[in-house]
Symmetry: C2
Amino acid sequence: MGEPDLARLMLEASRSVGAEVVANLDERGFPDARPGHAAVFMHIDRRSGTRLTDLARRARMTKQGMMLLVDDLENRGYVRRVPDPEDARAKVVRLTARGRRYVAEARRAVAAVEARARRELGDRRYEALRGALEELIEARGLSAEV
Amino acid sequence: MGEPDLARLMLEASRSVGAEVVANLDERGFPDARPGHAAVFMHIDRRSGTRLTDLARRARMTKQGMMLLVDDLENRGYVRRVPDPEDARAKVVRLTARGRRYVAEARRAVAAVEARARRELGDRRYEALRGALEELIEARGLSAEV
DNA sequence: GCCGATGGTCGATCACGTTGACGGAACGAC
DNA sequence: GTCGTTCCGTCAACGTGATCGACCATCGGC
């Protein structure tokens, strides 16, 4: 019993790939990138902004968890919260100009790293990997869904 | 761009599977199991025990990180530290009787969950998943190796 | 108007690690 | 032998990604 269990294997792979994305972003001039930022920049509306609750739902996490991310990005000057004109309870998380540049580079960084992974594994195995991961998640129910 | 990035997909799948193992162990009478314990119980010598440093190396993590795990398991009564007769600097992490039962059940729980995943995906895709994950890790270098 | 649902926030806590620094024992060279 | 180096375990601080519970203001249907 030397081999790691499946959960650990996926965790290590996730960290490896995440670290590569962060390193890639570092080279692109965003040294304070964190893997978790992806949960925001993959889901935010680039022009109009998005409510925190919607971001949380899209990223399948709690609104409290998303708030920590948004707090962090706001401190770094990538987003700001503006009141939602349609709902006085709500605020819209909106990208700053710097934030739009960050999102653009981050998506390129993710695309570059995933393209590398795809080259390493081959198209068929890469798609199979993603499919298998999605099935594993699906079959166990999604944490912060609904 | 709605789909999650690869790193997040692997992270979520890891957590899903890890949570299932913990739930399985809960049913087996070990309600205080944590996913991280696997790093110990997959690598410890069941009879003679293993040094902390060796555990850390086998689990590919820092000795400080491993120490936190061992502290936790010691507090719960699953392992104890005994001086290494062959090296006065070292201590051997040795399973208690309860710890041996825990390890046995934990390995069964992991096996059960992985068998379920294998059924869901099919043998071929399951093996492909593990292979792809290992390649992704390998190609990026292993964190606490050497 | 009231009242339940919704949006955001605060506070505490947890899981799983990391880097840095350090003290004590061991070991090899001389 | 004793000197420097290496190795073992430990303490302290921090980073990352979350969770749950409580709370208040607002919204919207009745």
